[in-house]
């Protein structure tokens, strides 16, 4: 959550337009160094986590000689710098290795779990933005009114509620009691062999293949966790929208727009929001990035086979290949979304464009 908020400050400084190519070049350097940092941190974590990685591979009941043999096979008996060297060599050749837990290549696993997270986070963000933006606008326009207070409280509660707790409670209510939604997981077991995902985004796949029953089922699975994440991002988006809108509404060009005789609707949606949209896009993009990486708890409660759960699980089993792969993917997403929001910022805000 806070990652998102702070990235706000990272937006390009107003007024001084940096040429796009230069900006991208700078970005690439930053990205590469960040990657290297991530690598080092992950390696470091892997070595300091007091979990014997061999244990994860063999379990507790393996005899000692087997444990020793595997330890040597994996090079854990080498000095640290050699291990780091081997580790980096593997990564640079594009080989993230196999996950110990699933025996699959890490990238295969990630290709499976990441779409699940993306699908969830995307739907969550869509819900959050579709509701949050109008609420934020309403609150800003009616500043100080009852509506504003209600939006404020709704938003602050969203900030304050432990998401895993809300998830548990809503699971009990909507699944156990009311049976409105489906069981945790992405899809019913019944469809295990009647539905083959192509992209990994089940909602899209099912529509694509015209399997409406599958779509309905998938929807019933995703709607509750997505709504929760949506509420979470709604809280954030509506607050930020309100604050940006207040800022814009106090600007002189709003007075000018009114002086032109524009209708209030046009002033608010056409001018104020259009301007507020510039920072808002960054906020939404980063809130989205936050959901992609930060939904471990939701994924835990909803048994959502996503990347947050995958990394957490791997970490607890010292499956460092998997942790690294996941971290790199999330790092990439973070860097990518940063770049994207930067680009969006540039397209939306003519002030950052140079001629």
């Amino acid at each position: 959550m806070s990652i998102i908020e702070t990235k706000m400050e990272a937006r390009p400084a107003k007024g001084r337009a940096v040429p796009l190519a230069k900006a991208i070049g700078r970005f690439l350097i930053a990205a590469v160094t960040t990657y290297l940092g991530l690598l080092a941190v992950t390696f470091f974590i892997g070595r300091v986590v007091p979990i014997d990685p061999v244990l994860a591979i063999l379990g507790d009941r393996a005899p000692t000689h087997v444990v020793e043999r595997v330890r040597e096979e994996l090079g854990f008996n080498l000095p640290l710098y050699q291990q780091f060297f081997i580790y980096i060599k593997g990564i640079l050749s594009g080989d993230f290795g196999n996950s110990v837990l699933t025996t699959n290549p890490v990238m295969t696993d990630i290709r499976r779990v990441f779409p699940a997270t993306i699908e969830l986070a995307t739907l969550g963000t869509i819900i959050g933005a579709l509701i949050g933006i109008p609420l934020g606008v309403l609150a800003a326009v009616r500043r100080g009114s009852l509506a504003d207070q209600i939006v404020r409280v709704v938003g602050l509660v969203g900030y304050s509620v432990p998401i895993f707790w809300l998830a548990l409670i809503s699971l009990v209510i909507f699944y156990a009691q009311l049976r409105w939604v489906a069981f945790p997981g992405r899809i019913d077991i019944v469809f295990e062999y009647t539905f083959t995902p192509i992209t990994g985004f089940y909602l899209i796949d099912s529509v694509w293949q015209g399997q409406w029953d599958v779509f309905y089922d998938v929807f019933r699975h995703i709607i509750l966790p997505a709504s929760l994440l949506g509420y979470f991002s709604l809280a954030y988006i509506s607050r930020m929208t309100r604050s940006f809108m207040l800022n814009e509404l106090s600007q002189e060009y709003i007075v000018a727009a009114r002086a032109k005789g524009l209708s209030e609707t046009r002033v608010i949606w056409g001018h104020a929001l259009r301007n507020a949209a510039v920072p808002l896009v960054t906020v939404i993009a980063l809130s989205y990035a936050g959901l992609l990486e930060g939904s471990v708890l939701t994924e835990t409660v909803f048994s959502w086979p996503g990347i947050g759960l995958y990394i957490t699980n791997s970490l607890q089993n010292a499956d460092m290949n998997a942790v690294l792969g996941g971290t790199i993917v999330i790092g990439t997403v973070f860097i990518g979304i940063n770049l994207l929001s930067d680009l969006l910022y540039r397209t939306l805000d003519p002030r950052t464009r140079s001629r």
């Binding site: 379990g59 077991i189 048994s303």
Partner: protein, 516 residues
């Protein structure tokens, strides 16, 4: 609702790391392997101290107790259609020994090595398999070991198609991997079901094997769905999203048994929960302290709450059902007595000690309960919670004070537990045999000798008596506080017929289950 021809189980299967029977040693994998592979012999569920034939029609033991000859049933076929021959059996043994993965010791303890295995486990002819052991062990011991899943018979011809070449090295002397990589997720067996798919942390799917020689399974498909939590399993069971819930906790078990659509079943398992004291800690080293701790567990309260229905108090190391199990529970919560013992040890004012505890139930609950009862005698217990792998790492490095854990028999024979609780040939930190005794720096050479002797006792009754004696001595002097024996429970929908849990994890058969 689940489909008519499919059985869906909610089961915590996140421990599975491989499906290769020569490698797998996890509890959930045992169930999958046992349902999809065949063995020479299996445990006799009517009397678990005995075994019965599976692929083997009959067997005999030579008089010197060293040679076991098995005759295979005729006309057996693998799921692939290949015939099951003695050669497959021999190769399966060879493979397990040469791969030398975690469970291989169950076979190698009979003197098998990579160099001699082709001699010691070999096909005399198409239908005859001969197994030679290095000592005149109790036949019950040898046969019990052969019921372990590592002895599963794999389809040599099929596996040979999938071997991966390897470069021999100091650690691994062979030029191929015996299909290990393929079998991790592949299947080459002859059991009632065949393995269709395993997706780690998600699902295991079994499908009916039409080539199975025994009773044909009733259902086409069995799906094990990874569900870690009891409450989730119960919810799904109530909703009909699963047919069987396998990891219910007491509260949910209660609710299931009260539900008209649902039923519960249970079976004691050979898993023992215990608290161990590391003798590296000077205070814990004192025998009086060890005994005092045995009086500082509120067995009654724990049994009626935390483990209600999922375990029963059991204070010895052999689980009920195994040969020679001693059913004696002499300890009760007795703070006065414990205080007396502590005073005798010179620790009347109590002391502080830590305990590593996994973040799972019921161990956390028991640990917290113990924390309270220990406090009554002035012992301040600090719980160090951790993830399973983390506490284990510490336990195996024996840097703990106290540890709460469970121990499941490696194979269904008393020697498995007797050995790990008594053997400690090299108590140095570099010890090569890291038994539970070693992990707690506990040396008991007398009992160890007795256990080794029992191993060679060919008279079943005498053998049983020997183990009972060891357990009695263990009760009086050991740094292990045994608390309870696990009862495996399952809640299921009433439309299931013939669903039963076996006495061990590799005897939970799904073949007989039918749906109405």
């Amino acid at each position: 609702e689940t489909p008519k021809d499919t059985l869906v189980e909610g089961f915590a299967i996140d421990d599975i790391i491989t499906m290769d029977p020569g490698e797998a040693f996890e509890l959930s994998t045992a169930e999958m392997t046992t349902n999809s592979y065949s063995l020479l012999v299996r445990l006799d569920l009517n009397d678990t101290t005995k075994v019965k034939g599976d692929l083997a029609e009959s067997w005999s033991v030579s008089d010197d107790g060293l040679t076991y000859t098995f005759k295979l049933k005729p006309g057996l076929k693998f799921a692939s259609g290949n015939p099951v021959t003695a050669e497959d059996v021999a190769w399966s043994f060879e493979r397990a020994v040469k791969l030398d993965k975690s469970p291989a010791f169950i076979l190698t303890q009979f003197g098998l090595t990579g160099d001699n295995v082709t001699e010691k486990a070999k096909a005399a002819d198409e239908n005859t398999f001969v197994f030679t052991v290095d000592k005149a062990y109790a036949p019950s011991f040898v046969l019990n070991c052969l019921t372990a899943t590592v002895a599963s018979v794999v389809d040599k011809k099929l596996v040979m198609d999938h071997i991966k070449p390897m470069t021999p090295s100091a650690e691994y002397k062979y030029d191929n991997d015996f299909g290990n990589e393929w079998l991790k997720t592949g299947y080459a067996g002859s059991g009632a079901y065949k393995l269709r798919e395993w997706r780690a942390n998600e699902v295991v799917v079994l499908e009916r094997n039409d080539n199975y020689y025994g009773d044909k399974p009733k259902l086409n498909r069995v799906i094990y769905r990874n569900m870690k939590e009891s409450a989730a399993q119960r919810l799904a069971l109530e909703a009909g999203d699963i047919d069987i819930a396998r990891n219910l906790e007491p509260g949910d078990l209660d609710a299931v048994s009260k539900n008209a659509d649902l039923a519960a079943t249970s079976a004691p398992k050979s898993t023992i929960y215990y608290v161990s004291l590391n003798l590296k800690n000077e205070k814990l080293k004192k025998p009086e302290v060890q005994q005092a701790f045995k009086y500082l567990v509120d067995y009654d309260a724990i049994s009626s709450t935390l483990i209600k229905g999922i375990g029963e108090i059991h204070q010895t190391f052999l689980p009920k059902g195994q040969l020679g199990a001693l059913d004696e529970n002499p300890f009760k919560l007795d703070v006065a007595k414990a205080k007396e013992l502590l005073a005798k040890a010179g620790l009347a004012d109590g002391f502080s000690v830590t305990m590593d505890v996994r973040n799972t139930q019921p161990v956390t609950g028991i640990a917290e309960s113990m924390q309270q009862t220990l406090a009554q005698a002035g012992v301040k217990l600090e719980i160090i919670p951790g993830d399973g792998k983390q506490t284990l790492t510490k336990y195996r490095a024996r840097t703990h004070d106290m540890y709460i854990g469970q121990w499941g028999s490696d194979y269904f024979d008393p020697n498995s537990n007797a050995d790990t609780f008594t053997a400690n040939p090299d108590n140095s930190d570099a010890g090569t045999n890291k038994t539970l005794a070693w992990r707690n720096t506990f040396e008991t050479p007398e009992l160890d000798k007795q256990a080794k002797a029992a191993l060679l006792e060919r008279d079943g009754a005498k053998r049983a008596a020997m183990y009972q004696d060891i357990q009695k001595k263990y009760l009086e002097n050991s740094p292990f506080v045994f608390i309870f024996q696990q009862i495996e429970v399952a809640g299921y929908r009433k439309n299931l017929k013939d669903f039963k849990l076996g006495p061990s994890f590799d005897t939970n058969f799904v073949g007989p289950i039918a749906k109405e």
